[in-house]
């Protein structure tokens, strides 16, 4: 696969960047793009509607799989109202549980328990935001980094190992372990970047392969005594030292930790990188038109390598946040499906740092709420995957959303 066009339609062109406060240029000034203007411009409307359709699709599945609903269907023609009541009950129960698990639990006995869901959503969104930023950075640079999964795993391996293997003072140990996670992810991303830059190897294929390799690598390591440092019968490692753990932001029982701060900082960093730095100018130039970038003296190979390393580093950070913050030890499932979730997060966020952050919050909330929903109503959390993928499919095809809701097509800028 040589020339894929990874940025295609779904990853929108770079937003108007370098739009600082100009003076005296004599040309008409375009309004500075703002969040508000973005919301009004319609792409946000498409996002919101996509989310609505996604939830609706989930509702259909929840209702269809529910035995009560199925039961009412057998006598639908005698008492159709029962059928709709059953659907309403099942779906609203599930989604209310989702909300209570994700945002605010008004049924909780204490204030602490009532607001805990929101913090759980932030915990769940932390790795999604971090890895999503890595994917978004790749998209903007014209690289389709499917390798978030492997990069997360490598980040976790490095961060985890440095987190329990070394003995260092608190703080220092945490920083070292986090840096190790960054390095681990950067190496894994860098392999794909290096091969693409040197040999033109398609990054989609290479990163897919690296994902699988990372999966076997962690399986292998978790069988090696020197690595595991524990006698546990399960394939898992020793717990990371307290000194290496990401410090909690709130007292027990809250699990919110410094990982979320990392996510916020990373978002700001990626925004600066893309919109305000010379490096980001190169990234975007290569992403939009590698030929012109090359002619302008930008080394496409170098950009490819750097982007993949930074993207990998961000995913590695996600892995580090998982192992040093939430999980505290390495397991086979440490990466979960983070890598692929991150792709959906970046797509929903339209590859922009702030958008990715918000998309990460949303999907994090889905995840946190999903567990509550599963525990309280028996609706499997897997429904969240369906909702997410429907959302992203729709986001990628705005004309379809407009057709569904009979919205007018946006007024395009003259192209000639």
């Amino acid at each position: 696969m040589t020339e894929t066009s990874p940025t295609g339609q779904t990853v929108p062109a770079a937003p108007v960047a370098a739009s600082g406060e100009g003076i005296g240029s004599g040309t008409p000034q375009a309004p500075r793009p703002t969040l508000l203007r973005d919301i009004m411009s319609g792409s946000w409307l498409v996002s919101v509607l996509s989310i609505a359709v996604g939830l609706l699709a989930g509702a259909v599945l929840i209702a269809a799989a529910d035995p009560d609903v199925q039961a009412t269907l057998s006598y639908f023609f005698s008492r159709p109202a029962d059928f709709f009541v059953a659907i309403w009950q099942t779906v609203s129960e599930a989604y209310l549980a989702l909300f209570r698990g994700a945002v605010f639990d008004w049924q909780a006995q204490s204030v602490q328990r009532a607001i805990r869901p929101l913090t759980e959503s932030l915990v769940a969104s932390t790795p999604l935001i971090l890895a999503g930023l890595g994917i978004a950075l790749g998209f903007r640079s014209g690289l389709f980094n499917i390798g978030g999964q492997g990069q997360v795993i490598l980040g976790a391996i490095f961060a985890g190992f440095f987190g329990y293997f070394l003995t260092l003072p608190a703080g220092v140990h945490m920083i070292i372990a986090v840096l190790a996670g960054i390095v681990g992810g950067a190496i894994w991303g860098g392999i794909a970047g290096y091969l693409k830059a040197r040999t033109g190897a398609n990054e989609v294929i290479v990163t897919i392969m690296l994902n699988s390799i990372a999966g076997y690598l962690i399986a292998y390591l978790l069988k090696q005594a020197w690595f595991r440092q524990t006698d546990s019968g399960n394939p898992q490692s020793r717990n990371v030292d307290d000194a290496a753990s990401l410090f909690p932001l709130l007292p027990d029982p809250f699990r919110l930790n410094a990982g979320f701060l990392l996510a916020v900082l990373a978002t700001i960093f990626v925004w600066w990188l893309l919109e305000r730095s010379t490096l980001g100018f190169e990234f975007r130039a290569v992403g939009e038109n590698p030929h012109a970038a090359r002619t302008a003296g930008i080394s496409v190979g170098r950009v490819t390598l750097i982007v993949m390393m930074i993207a990998g580093a961000l995913a590695g950070l996600a892995g580090a946040a998982q192992v040093l913050g939430t999980e505290q030890r390495l397991t086979m499932g440490i990466g979960g499906s983070l890598g692929f979730d991150a792709i959906t997060v970046a797509l929903l966020g339209r590859s922009r740092p702030v958008g990715t952050f918000l998309a990460g919050l949303l999907f994090g909330a889905f995840k946190a709420g999903g567990y509550t929903m599963q525990a309280q109503t028996g609706t499997p959390i897997d429904i969240i995957l369906v909702v997410q993928s429907v959302i992203v499919l729709l986001i990628a095809a705005p004309p379809l959303v407009r057709a569904i809701f009979r919205l007018p097509a946006p007024v395009g800028k003259g192209a000639r």
Binding site: A13, A18, T27, A285, T295
Partner: protein, 523 residues
């Protein structure tokens, strides 16, 4: 077969590409459709071929109104088309290419390539094409690929053949061969619609000429019309492509190219042992038919391709091993041949495009930090200086016309002190006004003492701009001649005839006959 178009109108959004065009092609006629780039010729022919549906008007074949819902209908009606960009699958063999879409089959749906091969051999023999049915398309030279396209059309019994800019990619002798083929086709009763913007070819072959400009028919002409008459019709006003310039005042030779050889991806020599010197304050034009190594020569100077042998030095330093960026920083300004691919980034704003190769230099950046305010201010100045027509410098550059986009490129490349300017096809696709502007700017740069290398396939441009002209053919410099060399001589040199011989032949007055006689072997 007689073909008639009545009132054909085709719009793309608000842009009218064809505005009620009438055209009649008599049986057995070679009819030239003459017009500048972007005049709407190709749109008209794509409409005729069923690729576009016309918004208004009708197509008549032998006086019967016909509608085409796709190319298949057009082919069935006896229309064949040779596109400017060949519609050939590079990895197919000739036989497969000819079979595609009209596959001879055996035993149900198995391909009968034997039959296709025979067809290729038959047609090839009838017209002396020398095409091997089992050759793979991508291995064939351009001229041969064009003949495959003609075989494709003839194999479907085309009675009317549309040739869209067929000579754009051909060498002069390949062009002569094509003209011979066209004559032969005509003698067998095939009508030909010949789309071009090259005046000389039209006069050499056409029976009737229709000139279109900005989507409208502006006149019919006979082949006896003079070139200036035709050109006048084509561009709509008297062409005067002479930009006033002072005589050159050349200084030292600062760009030295020695024994330069460039090899392409498939190990073909594209620049072959080239030696050139360019002095400060002079313009050296590189003339030649497209694809004779000029582009690669320009790319080697800026560092986009690594030469296999030889050296390039500027101001006494060897450029070998320097990256594009390092060369730009040494003061090389580069205007790339293909503006939309290499010169600008369509989705970037105008101001971003103005710093495309300066973004990390003071004052546009400090360290890693871009300086948006400075960038904006500088862009505003350039817009005024180069008279770039725009709404806002925050719009994507794709909202600008080609001429204004090229002004952005020039403002970027000429807006800093240069030690060398390399411009490839600096006015390709521009309107006359913009051409004049670009030429003036390049001459001003020369007058400020910069050595300039201008690659142009338009002989007129080379003659207008250059102080000296180097003619390239098949990767070699055939000769370097003064700017007042007669066109005939340059024409012969562009066909590979060395300078002395070309001069001698022109003085004999035997040039015209010799051109066609000289190329009996198309290799």
């Amino acid at each position: 077969m007689k073909l008639e178009l009545r009132g054909i109108t085709k719009r793309f959004g608000t842009f009218t590409a064809n505005d009620s065009i009438d055209l009649v092609v008599e049986p057995g006629e070679i009819h030239a459709l003459l017009g500048e780039n972007g005049a709407g010729k190709s749109t008209l022919m794509n409409t005729l071929y069923g690729l576009y549906a016309p918004d208004e008007g009708e197509i008549l074949i032998d006086d019967r109104p016909t509608t085409f819902s796709g190319p298949g209908d057009a082919v069935a009606a006896g229309i064949g088309m040779v596109h400017q960009h060949f519609m050939l699958v590079p990895v197919f063999t000739v036989a497969e290419s000819v079979a595609l879409g009209y596959e001879p089959t055996k035993g149900g749906s198995l391909l009968d390539l034997g039959q296709a091969r025979q067809k290729v051999r038959d047609i090839s023999a009838r017209f002396g094409f020398h095409i091997d049915p089992d050759a793979v398309i991508e291995d064939l030279p351009v001229g041969a690929q064009q003949r495959v396209e003609i075989i494709k059309a003839l194999s479907r019994d085309a009675k009317i053949l549309i040739l869209d800019e067929p000579t754009a990619v051909l060498t002069p002798q390949e062009t002569d061969e094509l003209i011979e083929i066209m004559r032969q086709l005509k003698s067998e009763g095939t009508s030909i619609v010949f789309i071009t913007h090259k005046l000389r070819e039209v006069r050499a072959i056409a029976d009737g000429i229709t000139v279109i400009r900005r989507g409208k028919v502006v006149g019919e002409a006979s082949p006896e019309s003079s070139e200036s008459e035709l050109a006048g019709l084509m561009v709509g006003r008297d062409v005067h492509l002479t930009t006033d310039k002072k005589p050159a005042d050349p200084g030292d030779a600062t760009l030295l190219i020695k024994d330069l050889t460039v090899v392409d991806r498939v190990e073909q020599v594209v620049v072959d042992d080239v030696n050139l010197e360019v002095r400060r304050g002079e313009i050296l034009a590189i003339a030649g038919v497209d694809g004779n190594g000029q582009s690669e020569l320009a790319e080697a100077i800026i560092g986009l391709v690594e030469p296999r042998a030889g050296s390039i030095s500027l101001d006494g330093t060897d450029l070998a091993g320097l990256t594009v960026k390092q060369r730009l920083l040494r003061g090389i300004g580069f205007v790339p041949e293909d503006r939309s691919t290499d010169g600008v980034i369509a989705s970037f704003t105008i101001q971003e495009n103005m710093i495309l190769d300066l973004y990390d230099q003071e004052p546009y950046a400090k360290g890693l930090q871009l300086q948006p305010a400075v960038i904006r201010e500088e862009a505003g100045k350039r817009v005024a200086e180069y008279d770039i027509r725009l709404t806002s410098i925050d719009d994507p550059i794709s909202t600008l016309s080609g001429g204004n986009q090229q002004k952005v490129v020039l403002s970027r490349e000429l807006g800093r002190p240069l030690r060398l300017l390399v411009a490839s096809q600096p006015t390709r696709g521009l309107d006359v006004g913009s051409i004049e502007f670009v030429h003036k700017r390049i001459i001003a740069e020369r007058d400020s003492g910069t050595p300039c290398v201008i690659v142009s396939t338009e002989l007129d441009e080379a003659l207008n701009l250059a102080d000296r002209i180097a003619v390239m053919y098949r990767g070699r410099v055939v000769g370097i001649v003064p700017a007042d060399t007669p066109r005939d001589v340059l024409g012969l040199m562009m066909a590979g005839v060395p300078q002395d011989e070309a001069l001698a032949r022109v003085e004999d007055g035997s040039a015209a006959t010799e051109i066609s006689a000289a190329e009996e072997d198309p290799a």
